[in-house]
Amino acid sequence: MIQYIEQILPALLSGTKMTLLIFFWTLIASIPLGALVGLGLIQKFKPLVWLLNIYVWLMRGTPLLLQLIFVFYGLPILGIIFQRYDAALFAFILNYTAYFGEIFRGGFQSVPKGQFESARVLRLSYGQTIRKIVIPQVFKIVLPSIGNEVINLVKDSSLVYVIGLGDLLRAGNVATARDVTLLPLILVGIIYLALTAVCTIVLKMIEKRENVWQ
């Protein structure tokens, strides 16, 4: 059995690499973009808010799987062609930005108005206020919700296998189909558990660090 594991492990690890790439780049892009969308959603300029609401509604209201298929198999019909990996990233970033946007909107709205006024009478600009006072407070507020989405993303990344990307799940599935054994799927499960465990620990560490102030 050990021998068999050694034999399929390289394929699984290479799949894990793809899973991590999707995970990593989606987070790197969609957290800051989500913060911007959240900031947009609290503006007084109504057309912007409507536009963003429609975007959030579309992204949250349709399956991520549909969005992936749409980007990779659908858009080429309109002449927009993505490579598999780019298609996956594009769909994931668009989707996760919407979720993060809603989370950040809630975060921005829970910063008391008095904080903005206090910054204003100290003559801080809107940008300075957002960067130095609002974002740090929002970050702390949204951290648990962001954590949920981060864990979800680890698992959601397995959806890329529908557009033929060789991620962790696909690697396990291929091995199981070929060798008619459950072992690869169990290993896949263990690797996902390990990945989410690492995420959980890192998130806990960040939360702890944020607890120096209340």
Partner: protein, 211 residues
């Protein structure tokens, strides 16, 4: 000297301040008193630029200024809010140095030196690295005062400075305000507390509810 001329403030059709004029002389303490709902806080919010006015002019030493404009060269008005509104994510020192370093672009070391002196003067030495949640109400208020002073305002305004404090601390605030007066700080105190107003103020401005 701060002069306010013909100030009118309406919320919708409701007039809260009607054609009010007042003058705050240098180094004096002006108390604004009146029953709740009379527009004391609204008046303060107009002076501090948090509300725009429907009508009226503000003059500092004869030069007109717009309190809502945050791009002025100097800080004319400093504010200590009723609930202090310290920034919870910053230490005491961070709260004080943020605006002077970011808005006035003063060197951090210089601002910190001034901050330490001000903190010591208000009995807050050793609290520099604490976060606001670790302070008592009275200490928060004093940090808010130091934070406002660090921007070197011409006038310091307080909104209901005694409302959240117990009686012993009330006298302490009076001492702080009178202490700042000795250092030539012009101050405006909005309060519903007549005794307190009479204790500290050189001049008392009454505002009444408009029907």
């Amino acid at each position: 000297m701060l002069e306010i001329k013909d100030l009118t403030k309406k919320f919708g059709t409701k007039t809260v301040i009607d054609d009010l004029s007042m003058t705050v002389k240098d180094n004096e303490i002006m108390a604004i008193v009146g029953p709740s709902g009379a527009g004391k806080t609204t008046l303060l919010r107009c002076i501090t630029g948090l509300e725009s006015v429907n009508q009226g002019q503000f003059f500092w030493n004869g030069t007109q200024f717009d309190p809502t404009n945050t791009d002025q060269k100097e800080t004319i008005i400093g504010v200590v809010f009723q609930d202090y509104q310290l920034f919870p994510n910053l230490t005491v020192m961070g709260n004080i140095t943020l605006a002077p370093t970011m808005v006035k672009k003063l060197p951090l070391a210089e601002v910190q030196k001034t901050a330490r002196e001000l903190l010591a003067r208000l009995g807050l030495e050793g609290k520099e690295d604490l976060y606001p949640f670790q302070l008592s109400g009275g200490q928060k208020q004093r940090v808010a005062i130091v934070r406002a002073l660090a921007m070197n305002p011409k006038i310091l305004c307080y909104d209901e400075p005694t409302s959240a404090l117990d009686p012993a601390l009330r006298d302490e605030v009076a001492e702080i305000i009178l202490g700042l007066k000795k250092q030539q700080m012009t101050q405006i105190v909005v309060t519903h507390d007549m005794d307190f107003a009479q204790n500290v103020a050189d001049e008392i401005k009454r505002v009444e509810q408009i029907d």
